[in-house]
Amino acid sequence: MPRRTALLALALGTAAGLTACAEEPGSGADAAADAGGPVAVTATDDSCELSRTALTAGRNVFTITNAGSRVTEVYVYEGDRVVTEKEDIGPGVEYELTTQIPAGEYDVACVPGMVGDGIRTPVTVTAAAGGEEVDPAQQQAVDAYRAYVQEQADALVPLVAEFAAAVKAGDVERAKALYAPSRVPWEAVEPVAESFGDLDPKVDLREADLEEGQDWTGWHRLEKALWVDGSTAGLEGVADQLVADVTDLQGRVQNADLSAASIGNGAKELLDEVATGKVTGEEEAFSHTDLVDFDANLAGAEKAYEVLSPIVRAEDPALATELEAQFAAVEAALAPYATGGGTYVSYDTVTEDQRRELARVVDALGEPLSRLAAVAAS
């Protein structure tokens, strides 16, 4: 479980602006997509003025000026979903926020003092004349992947509920058997699940990630109780919370901010997870069910590649060939450890030499996989 959260995804929303700012001053205004030029947002302590409220779909640049005396935030909402945001804009500070916006109805909100719902101004985004706001192949990939993520989230809830019930019943053996399977859908879509930053630390924090005095909840708290203490007495609340948290996730994945680039990047992150957490045996320090997670991470990465593969085959056929070969190699390397029904040998029985072999195939896939996002977004 990494500590990456939604904020990175949000930060990425502003990246284009920052990069443009750093390398090509003024390029935002020249880009074809943001036909009307940047939208000036002037925030004060009691007002939030936009230079215009009719926008064109695609890349839009908001030049924000905090002319008030309090720190402010600016959000772009579609209903209650945050499309992009910029927090902590100090008095006198100017900031350029760049984001991709599809056609639709939105609100731009300034939040002086960073509390409350903010001062909202409705804006209308219309499709660019004669142009597509999002490449249809990319949109198709996003739609297919969103459906997959929802499917995984839907599958997750009953699995976790069953696991939690065994924990609460004090049935240690049954809970141990249900532990690893209950994590599989989570592990398959982990980068998306993590993009809701508040959830990941609650459900997937490892003991090693804790700081002094921090409460420990989630799967790994229960894992330690089951495998080390042999008892889950007193952890009924932790089990209930886990169910509530994954149910919360189920309701939120439709709002995940997905793009061809983020899907490609997510595939790479899943392999990073395997390389840094599973191959090393750090993720499942007590249950040693790391290979179940490995399999799920791999399946999630393969799905991400699958939805992007039409684009990759068209844009970079050599990369497609390479990825398909390397996915097959990782699958082949993992297969000998399978014990049927989605279970795997305990990772503490996997020798140093075997772990090194696994690391090698994971690296061999991870390297070309890291090029997927740039190709998918091209």
């Binding site: 500590r3 990425l12 920052l18 790479k268 690391a359």
Partner: protein, 404 residues
């Protein structure tokens, strides 16, 4: 101490003239006659503060932590006196011991191990510190432990290994020539036999920080400039406020000293290398090429935390978020071969000097450990904390203000 420059001695050896023939020559004179380098490679050992803190960061590091095994306080004092004399010689480019590497009796092992013969002083500095464990009951120091030397708390994600952490004494040897730094620690360790034993040690290279505006900001193994906003050696006001302990701080014997936090931080190199440039820059908060704060154009442009991604490294570490706390960093890059699965065993040996870690390193690291996006690619595996006593004047010895 052998009053023989290693360079001069080698020259004499080459000419077949072994012995103490130049013993009467002043070191400076010897160097002037033999060293063609335009700038003196000797950093003065004596001074109000120990060398190796504000000294422009040398190219190489050998850092060693020791457990003190001396039977009593007198044994500890004798060790520090031996180390002081040896450090005076080594930092001046001289050999250890009266007879040095080759001047002694043929049937006795040489006093100096000899691998630095022919190497100049190479700006060697030797900096000695006392760990919290020295202040247990063994040497009558229990009531002398400074409050600022409080044990570091556990930070989120810490994966500390006891065998890479802590210790009673430390030696930080820095030099531009790695062989000179290694030679220093090797000989100091030999002089410690029976009084102190090495607990762990770390080699470092490619200084990962600079302490002078004239030096180009070096790069860490993530490929980013590191230490742009460091406390600089010529900023006396900042040094007095943030680096040097003062008499009124609670431990008078530390006046003119500093507190050192050393962290063995491993980097998850392969994963980082597969991360897009855009994400690398968002995680750090600076551009990779120039080192400019994101949204700005040059390295020295003002860094306004509120303009940067919330969880970027430089935003979280910024003094504005920590009551203005700053540290003097002089860390080094490390590569210790490979780990068990073929990945680079590499990282940063973080060294930061400060007036009080409770107001500097601790709050900064607490914030970083919680939220820093860079934490994804870092693993803290070693940690130690040291009270680095003030410098010594000729005739004094290291730690005299504590043990004298």
């Amino acid at each position: 101490m052998a009053d023989v420059s290693r360079r001069r001695a080698l020259g004499l050896l080459g000419a077949g003239a072994v012995g103490a023939g130049v013993a009467g020559l002043g070191v400076t004179g010897v160097r002037a006659a033999t060293d063609p380098a335009p700038s003196a490679p000797v950093v003065p050992f004596h001074g109000a503060h120990q060398a190796g803190i504000t000294t422009p960061v040398q190219g190489h590091l050998h850092f060693a932590s020791y457990d003190v095994t001396a039977r009593d306080r007198a044994g500890l004092v004798a060790l520090l006196q031996r180390w002081t004399a040896a450090a005076e010689a080594l930092t001046a480019g001289r050999e250890v011991g009266r007879d040095g590497a080759v001047g002694g009796p043929a049937l006795a092992p040489p006093e100096d191990t000899g691998e630095a013969l022919g190497h100049d002083a190479s700006r060697l500095t030797i900096t000695v510190g006392f760990g919290p464990s020295l202040f247990d009951g063994r040497y009558g120091l229990a009531d002398r432990r400074p409050a600022a030397l409080a044990d570091l708390p556990r930070f989120a994600g810490d994966a500390l290994r006891p065998e890479r952490s802590g210790g009673d004494l430390c030696v930080q040897a820095c030099a531009d020539d790695p062989q000179v730094a290694v030679h220093a620690v090797r000989n100091l360790t030999r002089l410690a036999a029976g009084a102190a034993a090495v607990r762990w040690a770390q080699l470092g290279f490619g200084r990962a920080a600079s302490t002078s505006a004239a030096e180009e900001t070096p790069r860490n193994l993530f490929g980013f400039k590191d230490g742009t906003a460091n406390v600089l050696a010529d900023d006396d006001a900042a040094l007095d406020e943030h680096v040097w302990a003062a008499a009124g701080d609670g431990a008078d014997w530390m006046a003119g000293g500093s507190y050192l936090v050393a962290r063995d931080v491993r980097m998850v190199i392969e994963t980082w290398d597969r991360t897009s440039l855009q994400e690398q820059e968002l995680v750090v908060g600076r551009t990779k090429g120039e080192g400019a704060p994101l949204g700005r154009t040059s390295e020295r442009d003002p860094l306004v935390p509120s303009e940067l991604p919330l969880r970027s490294h430089v935003r979280l570490a910024h003094p504005d978020n920590h009551g203005g706390a700053r540290m003097l960093r002089r860390g080094y890059n490390t590569v210790d071969g490979t780990d068990g699965v073929g990945h680079l065993d590499a990282g940063l040996f973080f060294l930061a000097y400060q007036r009080d870690p409770r107001r500097a390193f601790v709050p900064v690291q607490r914030a970083l450990a919680r939220d820093d996006l860079l934490g994804e690619y870092l693993r803290h595996v070693g940690s130690s904390l040291w009270a680095v006593p003030p410098g010594v004047r000729p005739g004094q010895w290291l730690g005299q203000s504590l043990l004298g």
